[in-house]
Amino acid sequence: MARRSSGGDISYRLVLGLLSGIALLILITPVIVVLITSFTDSRSLRFPPPALSLRWYRSLFDPIQSAQIHTAAWNSVVVAFCSTTVAVVLGTAAALAIAGRRTWWAQALDAVFMSPLVLPTLAFGLAALMFFSTLGLPLSVPLMIVGHVAVIVPFILRTTIASLSQLDSGLLDTSASLGAGAFYTFRRVTLPVIRPGILAGAFIAFMASLDNVSVSLFLAGPETDVLPIRMWSMLESTLDVRTAAVSGVLIFSTALLVVIMDRVVGLTRRIS
């Protein structure tokens, strides 16, 4: 009996170890491969690269050669920054109204706000395009911001509702009974408690906007090119090696942002 169970023990460990090994390999390899490829000297995406150089980074930072990429990257940052700011205000307000309520409308609103997380946002992108063109509005950066707000609000809503649930309602009553107005209570009691939640949500929302394809795909035009769409067309048409350099820059800047955010709000704890 003991022998049999130890046989099962070994096979359990073996299978578990093997499958998680594959999972870890699949998770880590791509990032390393991109980083190495971005330093290639070759014109093709051969891996491993025949020689290493910084030529694609040089080409990427060249203001004339890569003007289109620079415009797209700038647009992306502007859109991500503005839409996050708007989404933080709307998302926090919505979270305050919804959190802790069990009424049917709060539940319904919660479902509506969360729907972009599971439903195809591609449909929303198309709808936004059709809506704006019915109104006769030409594609522009402000319209892109409006489109992004709708799909990034859920991230802020989720983390803010989670941190609101940690707010002791006794604190609010105490503040009110001490004569503080609703706004004063919000500023001095509620906000400090939920600030880490809002910041974590804002960070995820910012990244989601920067990375958004489904909405940008329909709202991006020659004037409103954004980075993911530009990179997509670079890959789609010519397999441009500069994409590797763009990816390298993105990976480094994200890593830097994550370290900063982790210091400020303990991001990794909050995502899980």
């Binding site: 099962g8 578990l16 990032v31 995406l45 051969r46 195809p120």
Partner: protein, 236 residues
């Protein structure tokens, strides 16, 4: 309703829808097969290693979708990592065609979506009472039996939540589908985009998106209902 009749009347449309949903199912299956063991490993790992493992797990989330897709082009390409390894080991004589195949797409998508499976799974697993496993072992159950009779049923809500997220995002992963899947594989997101922006057939594009939306909604609602039932079971 003319547009819906047009969609229903053409077998091509049905095959596009079927292939798209099937892609979602295959990706979910692969992510679950390697995600669950990794989740179990995470729970058994020493406390010191857990933050490092968690970092590796969220790593894909922190790189852009386009970057992740690009990585897989380099890995799966004719002159890519896998072909390089296979050729040098003498396992194949000529480079294999891996890019623009469904297998390549499913593997790439499972990396791209893995965090969506693991985060809910780990959050449920870490709430399980560790005494249950010891109790099961004390009662003479082997580790396999404990896994299938105790740990997995109790982690089902997390697993289902993970499956839901992976399914929903893999059927709409436009960039990965068009670049790794290639032009020969027509899937719903590409079909919508093509009808809307190159053919300017907005009514039909809207019809296709509604059909995709409703199909995903149906799958999501089913999984949600299963999730509620499994939670009820798990809570006794």
């Amino acid at each position: 309703m003319v547009q819906y009749a047009k969609f229903a009347g053409d077998a091509f449309n049905w095959s596009v829808l079927g292939q798209t949903l099937l892609l979602g199912v295959k990706t979910v299956a692969l992510t679950a097969c390697i995600g669950v063991p990794l989740g179990l490993l995470f729970m058994e790992a020493p406390r010191r290693l857990q933050p490092i493992l968690l970092f590796v797990i969220v790593l894909p989330l922190l790189t852009s979708v386009v970057v992740r897709t690009f990585a897989w082009i380099v890995i799966l390409g004719r002159e890519g990592l896998i072909n390089y390894a296979l050729l040098n080991l003498g396992l194949v004589a000529a480079p294999l065609r891996l890019l623009h195949t469904e297998l390549g797409l499913v593997v790439a998508l499972s990396q791209i979506e893995m965090p969506l499976m693991l985060l809910p799974l780990i959050s449920v697993m870490s709430r399980l009472d560790p005494n249950l496993k010891d109790a099961s072992a004390a009662l003479g159950a082997g580790r396999w039996r404990t896994l299938f009779r105790v740990t997995l049923p109790l982690s089902l809500p997390g697993l289902l939540a993970g499956c839901l997220l992976v399914f929903a995002s893999s059927v709409t992963a436009f960039v990965s589908q068009t670049i790794i899947g290639g032009g020969r594989m027509v899937l719903m997101p590409f079909y919508i985009w093509q009808q809307a922006t190159t053919l300017f057939n907005w009514p039909f594009a809207a019809t296709i998106s509604m059909i995709l939306l409703v199909s995903v909604l149906a799958v999501v609602t089913t999984l949600n209902a299963l999730g509620r039932r499994s939670r009820a079971l798990a809570n006794g």
